[in-house]
Amino acid sequence: MEYKNIKELMKKYWDGETNLQEESTLKTYFAGADVHPTLEQYKSLFTYYSIAREDKSLDSIDTAVLEYIQGKAVQKEAKVRSLPRLLRVAAAVMVLCASMFVFWNITSGTNSYSNSNSNVTIYDGKDEDPEEAKKAMKELKAALALVSNKLEDGKRQALIGISRTKTIPTLK
């Protein structure tokens, strides 16, 4: 950069009319070796602005902020993990299936009684022998026991799942 141009820029600078690019040109000029003798006196002033921009070690801030964020993340993660949502949904679906099964059995039973006088041959239970009824009852009990068993199983699985819940370290 020519001395004349720099001198002009300097005048603009003192008048507060330089833009960022022009100010950067001045800084570069004063950082160089060929500073004109008449401008030499300003060299350290412009060098100061560059020195003042140098980085300081602020690692303690990094550590503190990251530790804080990490602590927050662990809390958040733990909260989500304490809800074995899938297991709950599975249990609910099983209960629903079981109740539908029972409901369907009962209604189909009543239907058969209400239709007992029609011509359609359907099962009405009137001429059923007691042995058969007992057998059916046994089967029903077994089916219900099976459902109950499955529910217990699900519950146990859920408890195991909960006990396995751990905080998961995510950031690092």
């Binding site: 008048d15 006196q41 100061y48 300081k56 303690s60 801030i61 990094d62 964020i69 950031l171």
Partner: protein, 169 residues
């Protein structure tokens, strides 16, 4: 806001935030606290922080406000007065000026003797290289006021600097 975004957009500003704060609180420990507090505040703002258009100016404004709060708090004042008193004394003793033949120190002392707004304007412009609009946003003043403050500060620095320089020679 992901951790990566946060690190790129805000953590990377910490040097500038620190320099801004130290100019106000004049205490390295307090300035570090201010920057840390502001960075945590920003993280807690999450989406709101991610949506800010000019993130550096926004963060710097927060740092400036918190720094001013710190020096205004009663507790800090009692501790800070002797320190500031010391600095003023040093500037006015010819002996100390002669002893510390360090130009950087001299410029720093001139900067510190500037009125608050002028000093902030010079720091944000000549050191941090920010636009007039950004400086106006951070300091809560108009662009014209920023320009006037920079003009006055530069001329004050020039005058004082040439004076000490001549004495030195």
């Amino acid at each position: 806001m992901t951790l990566e975004e946060y690190t790129n957009e805000f953590m990377s500003l910490k040097q500038r935030l620190y320099r801004l704060s130290i100019g106000i609180v004049k205490d390295t420990m307090v300035a570090e606290d201010v920057v840390q507090e502001v960075l945590i505040k920003i993280w807690n703002k999450g989406k709101e922080a991610a949506a800010i258009e000019n993130k550096p100016a926004w963060a710097m404004k927060m740092v400036r406000n918190l720094s001013i709060d710190k020096i205004r708090s009663k507790h800090y004042k009692t501790g800070a007065i002797p320190e500031g008193y010391d600095v003023v004394n040093k500037t006015h003793t010819p002996e100390t000026i002669a002893q510390s033949n360090d130009t950087v120190n001299t410029i720093q002392e001139i900067m510190e003797s500037l009125p608050e707004t002028q000093r902030m304007c010079i720091q944000l412009r000549d050191i941090e290289e920010m636009k007039y609009q950004e400086i106006a946003d951070i300091l809560g003043i108009s662009i014209d006021q920023v320009k006037v403050n920079i003009y006055r500060a530069r001329n004050y620095i020039k005058k004082m600097y040439l004076k000490t320089d001549n004495y030195g020679v």
